[in-house]
Symmetry: C2
Subunit: 555 residues, 2 copies
Amino acid sequence: MAVNNRTADASQESLHRIFTVPEAPDSTLGMIEKELSENLNEFLRTHIAATEKPLLEIEKDFSDPAIPEVPSFVSEHTQFLLNKLVSQSVHTSAPSFIGHMTSALPYFMMPLSKIMIALNQNLVKIETSKAFTPLERQVLGMLHKLIFNENESFYQQWMHSADHSLGAFCSGGTIANITALWVARNTVLKPDGDFKGIAQEGLFRAMKHYGYDDLAILVSERGHYSLKKSADVLGIGRDSLISIKTDDNNRINIDHLQSTLADLKQRNIKPFAIIGIAGTTETGNVDPLDQLADIATEHDCHFHVDAAWGGATLMSNKYRHLLKGIERADSITIDAHKQLYIPMGAGMVIFKNPELMTAIEHHAEYILRKGSKDLGSHTLEGSRSGMAMLLYASMNIISRPGYELLINNSIENARYFADLIKQQIDFELVTEPELCLLTYRYVPEATQQALLIATDEERETLLELLNDLTKFIQKRQRESGKSFVSRTRITPEKWQHKITTVFRVVLANPLTTETILQDVLSEQRQLAKESTISLPKIEYLTAEIMRKKNEDRNK
Amino acid sequence: MAVNNRTADASQESLHRIFTVPEAPDSTLGMIEKELSENLNEFLRTHIAATEKPLLEIEKDFSDPAIPEVPSFVSEHTQFLLNKLVSQSVHTSAPSFIGHMTSALPYFMMPLSKIMIALNQNLVKIETSKAFTPLERQVLGMLHKLIFNENESFYQQWMHSADHSLGAFCSGGTIANITALWVARNTVLKPDGDFKGIAQEGLFRAMKHYGYDDLAILVSERGHYSLKKSADVLGIGRDSLISIKTDDNNRINIDHLQSTLADLKQRNIKPFAIIGIAGTTETGNVDPLDQLADIATEHDCHFHVDAAWGGATLMSNKYRHLLKGIERADSITIDAHKQLYIPMGAGMVIFKNPELMTAIEHHAEYILRKGSKDLGSHTLEGSRSGMAMLLYASMNIISRPGYELLINNSIENARYFADLIKQQIDFELVTEPELCLLTYRYVPEATQQALLIATDEERETLLELLNDLTKFIQKRQRESGKSFVSRTRITPEKWQHKITTVFRVVLANPLTTETILQDVLSEQRQLAKESTISLPKIEYLTAEIMRKKNEDRNK
């Protein structure tokens, strides 16, 4: 009965209230807002639980598929969200959480986001976004200039041109990569004589028209998984994303790339895109972009650079040389929600040539009419929010030199941490930081000795046990909630390309201090000792190996 | 010189400040925040300019492609945003702006959004989202239940299942439609014997393996333009999105669908998806979903329903029958940022069968490991924000009956407006509202008489002039900034399927009153009189036709 009464009460008037009457300042939600404004970090520190609750436990709070038949009071529901959701979320902005590519946000993002949400613009067309459209076009121009640095007249001609677009703002790097490869695919299978092009006639007819036996996209084995997804979506097939070997520094092996291209040509397979990585997700390395540009030109391939994470390095005059050659790319993916410090959901793809995106242009009767400046005629997504505003504001408030400080600080922090790891007798730096990402692991000192003299079989066993130990430490550290590093599996040359589990660290948070980094190592050293399975086995085998060696010596 | 000094000042310490020190409450940004909290509608009314500034003028403020070399003070930049961006944005939440599918937001969205932004979770994996992952899975479950109403054990089994997903939360309806058709495409060209499936081997080999000459997706000519885009992206080709005629009510013509299917079969073209529309974008009509379900079953097609806009009608027990048959769909697109009143950037695709999404499943080494509950293994997008939280909160706070009130109110408002239009002697209701969308136009009374007796040639001229007049009124009304209706072009049977420009109205804003609707018509009648080209021509031709008729009568 209570249900019906309360439902009936939710009259026309109460509907109006929902849309008009604000929360009182002393309500739960009002107080949270105030706390968030006054001290975001403190709010997060206080409200996010330090120790991890098992997922199965959390799921219990989110298990009812029925949409409630009774309304909740805002304050009541906010309290629920605080207790059950906020407290069990991930503290991405904590300076000791150095395992993610997203870190702290500048404090002004919170109020500015509120303006963005309140305006609720839809960037698909000018009619629903007005000034946001020129703003987003300018943001794309700013990124274009950061990468390609064309002259003033170039931007005057193209930035606000109705029939062109310098790129697309989108929800993230995956959509950006798909967009770039979509453009590349549609360009290589473009209209030709009677053939109306792949966009119109589809891939099957396109292949028959051009007479290829297959298509291929080439990228190093460190390519992001979104590229496989792109190959699937675009109808090219995951097998046609050809994985090229890497050298000892996780950079694409140019010889292998060349021989693969020769092989494809012989088999009548058309390689239409070569992808360089500017900051591999797992190890943070940058492919030799200049060499890739040469090869792409030679083989008439679209040259795409996936700089989703590393692209922000271009903000640093000191370090932008690390991405040399990126200015020769046909298209580039950059995520604003990674090293440009914008909230989640902001990616971009930028095209060198403003004509390129016409390969995916589309129009409709009632919007995106030909000749309109609507952004939606060149985007994979339809309706989109005004996120570009946040990047715009951030580039103005922080400025290029401010971003440079952030980038330099991250790179130098990573170098500091790499040196610190090398100084420890019981840690091994597995990959050196090229930008601000490095990998390492814990290896007891004696085991490091033992590995050098072990038989192949013993070494293999030790390496497997060390993998277990790394996994144990990483999980335990995450669960204890004080700090967080991520983990991944790579195949370093030093360990005969055996699968090696490593800690992975991204040093993008400007609040991460040297002390915090020292503490991370101390904690890991401590946690290793809590391993009751892997560590004792490692120590036993290490002792065995050393004992054998001593016996040999005494013989 | 000032540049260098200020740059140099932006030291390590000032970087820390950007991430830690909040805006003072009496700063520009602090005051805006307060205003937004206290009276959102008033803030928007005060700050969004009433009259339109030409786009070329606005572009001047957003024309510099250089990223600033000097930081801006937050308050300074906020003032710029207020003057140049906010003032020139579109007042989507004004109750007299009834031309968009996005309307006002419940006030609690603003503070809740701030929490979401501050937490900055990444829903691609549990490691970066924790409780947000079960929350999003629950939201997908809630929508699944709203549509399909499976029993409790169904949701217990599937909602939190590691290897399954009931759908995907995404940035909007376009991504949702692409995802649905991606699944359908990968299912029809699935692995078979030695053939590893389209996901792996690509569309070209898939077609050769299955021996089809082509593929086809069928949808009425009222299908959203995102479907053409989907056909392009997925390599199927826009030509293979077959457009089926509609009946007088803009619903798919079943006979034409049947004959097209027969024709395709004869030509060895495989129709693999039939799309029903639950709320056409231009006229708001709903296809006969039950009949489409029968036909899809008969022809072994995936049955997708694009309910991006109309899907929310399911919240209304009174009106959900209007979408009858939707529960037989294989997949459904629903936008939360339309009639579920969530901020821009929230769409969903829901699959009836939890196994279906395995057709697009993907894994990677370091994340989305097999057996994990990471949402990212079943999404087109990669990194995603925690938008699902806003829908979750909204469904709890507003509740199902609250949403029902909103939906019923919208539908009944549209009926009121339709009746009001019919009562006017100088307006013509062109399409009746089925949900809360209708189209109409202004036609002087005498011209309505004249159209009935005009020769074909005269009628054609009159209709063209009326199109110009409608366009004139709509633009002038938008520019004057008091109210806004959109416009589109349709081909009504009444006017021999001639292209007819109409006003298009979506009545989703609960704050839109009857008085506002009356004023919209008065203003349009007034604006018509300001037309110095179309109206005089219409009146002259009308007089001519009437004069001829009188002459004939007097003969």
